[in-house]
Amino acid sequence: MAKDRKKIEFKGIEELPPMAMSLKSMAANETGSWRNIRPVINYDKCINCMICWKFCPDAAVDIINEEPVINLTFCKGCAICAEECPTDAIDMVKEGR
């Protein structure tokens, strides 16, 4: 269930479509690593129910080997996953040094 995050590269203006548009799923469109708080999954509590995967508004949760993994190139720290997690397995941790 890992998403196709392969970036699309244009060699030049000829290859570019006339208007700005995604050529595949938005999963390929990296949104950057900026956030204030970061979700950290406690895998001892996680029951692999995939609710975090389903609720993430930016599709930042990948399922790898049947476990959720947060992709921090997409996660903006909205904490919806932590709020929705039925076993409280996700902690939101402050970013910073």
């Binding site: 570019l16 479509p17 006339p18 208007m19 700005a20 548009m21 995604s22 050529l23 938005m26 469109n29």
Partner: protein
């Protein structure tokens, strides 16, 4: 079939012949009858289209943008304050490369409140990426609307069909309504390569970084420039099929003219009538009617003005603190190509009539001058 119709209804019949699929519009004087008749045509099932009632012109253009993104042929019409309210979405339609066609009835902007013609509303939208076609007769209105879809759908840029309030919008003229089957042959259905498609989901017009934004702007510009030849090619084909040929500019008695005056819209018809009068008095004057503002026909303007000794531009608009907008455009085209003196006149704002005597007055003034004494002349303004 020949009919006596008003300019507004020429648009309604034109949109019907073009088989538009989505119409979204908000009423404003002097445009209302365009969509009033269209709503009846759709209600009578004589045109298979969605007629979307909206709460503002901003929403009308938004609805057209949505429908066009889904691949529908779309139409709207507006005027003046309504066009100004659409401004944000005019940029959006062009940047998203949607071949929407819209009619704008030239009406002076408020305040002071006015419902009569001048060109400041459409010329204020010059840099939005829309192609602009100025019409001088109801026949040209219906013909141009049909051609505009064909040009827009090839270059993927929107088009604005522009006509003067009342002197065209509400004036009844004989119009040869093009044959339905011939129009179908001229204008095939719109097949949008980049349309919104549930089987191939895409996000449109998303955030584009400085790394690529400029390239999209280059593409828009090149699409507009390529439209010059397409406007001429389709204008010629239209002439072959319907007997009326069109181009970017429309010359009248320019070949041997010492003075060429440039006009647009209905003032051009009056200018031509006056050319005939002045020729009888021995003044060698001609008229160049500007039909297309964007893409700007640099080569045609330079070509037709190359032998003129004086150029007179009659602007029914004003860029405050500068001069007329067509003057600005034409002077810029001549710069570096010609030293011909250019005289800029402002006439007919807020629907004030431009009579043959008005134009005669302008030409009589220019005949006596070697070059302009000032940047602009106001015509028939109280002292």
């Amino acid at each position: 079939m020949k009919k006596v119709i008003m300019g507004n209804h020429a648009l309604s019949y034109g949109a019907t012949l073009a088989r538009v699929q989505v119409i979204a519009a908000y009423p404003i004087t002097p445009q209302t009858q365009v969509v009033e008749l269209l709503s009846e045509i759709v209600a009578d099932k004589k045109l298979d289209a969605e007629f979307i009632k909206v709460e503002s012109e901003h929403s009308a253009m938004a609805a057209c943008i949505g429908a066009s993104t889904a691949g529908a042929r779309t139409f709207t019409a507006t005027s003046s304050q309504g066009l100004a309210l659409m401004h944000e979405l005019l940029h959006w339609a062009a940047g998203a490369r949607l071949p929407i066609v819209m009619a704008n009835i030239n009406r002076a902007l408020a305040p002071p409140w006015s419902i009569w013609t001048d060109q400041n509303d459409s010329l204020s939208q010059r840099d939005t990426g829309w192609m602009q076609f100025y019409c001088q007769s109801n026949q040209e209105v219906i013909d141009t609307l049909i051609q505009a879809y064909k040009v827009s759908e090839q270059v993927l840029m929107p088009s604005m069909i522009i006509l003067d309030a009342f002197s065209l919008s509400h004036t009844y003229e004989i119009v040869d309504i093009p044959d339905k089957d011939l129009v179908d042959e001229f204008l095939p259905p719109f097949n949008f390569k980049y349309k919104l498609d549930v089987n191939e989901p895409r996000a449109f017009s998303g955030l584009t970084t400085p790394d690529w934004y400029m390239e999209f702007r280059v593409k828009m510009h090149e699409a507009q420039r390529s439209a010059i030849d397409i406007i001429k090619k389709e204008g010629k084909l239209f002439g072959k099929m319907f007997g009326r040929e069109y181009s970017t500019v429309d010359p009248y008695m320019t070949d041997d003219a010492e003075i060429i005056m440039i006009t647009s819209g209905t003032a051009a018809s009056t200018a031509r009538y006056t050319v005939d009068l002045l020729r009888k008095k021995g003044i060698k004057v001609g008229n160049l009617r500007m039909r297309v503002l964007r893409p700007f026909p640099f080569d045609d303007v330079r070509n037709y003005l190359s032998k003129a000794q004086k150029v007179v531009i009659i602007d029914r608009n004003i860029s405050f603190g500068y001069h007329g907008i067509w003057s600005q455009e034409v002077k810029s085209a001549l710069y570096g190509y010609s030293d011909v003196p250019v005289f800029s006149f402002i006439a007919g704002l807020g629907g004030r009539d431009i009579f043959p005597s008005t134009i005669e007055g302008i030409i009589n003034k220019v005949v006596k001058l070697d070059k302009p004494e000032k940047d602009l002349y106001w015509v028939e303004v109280r002292k």
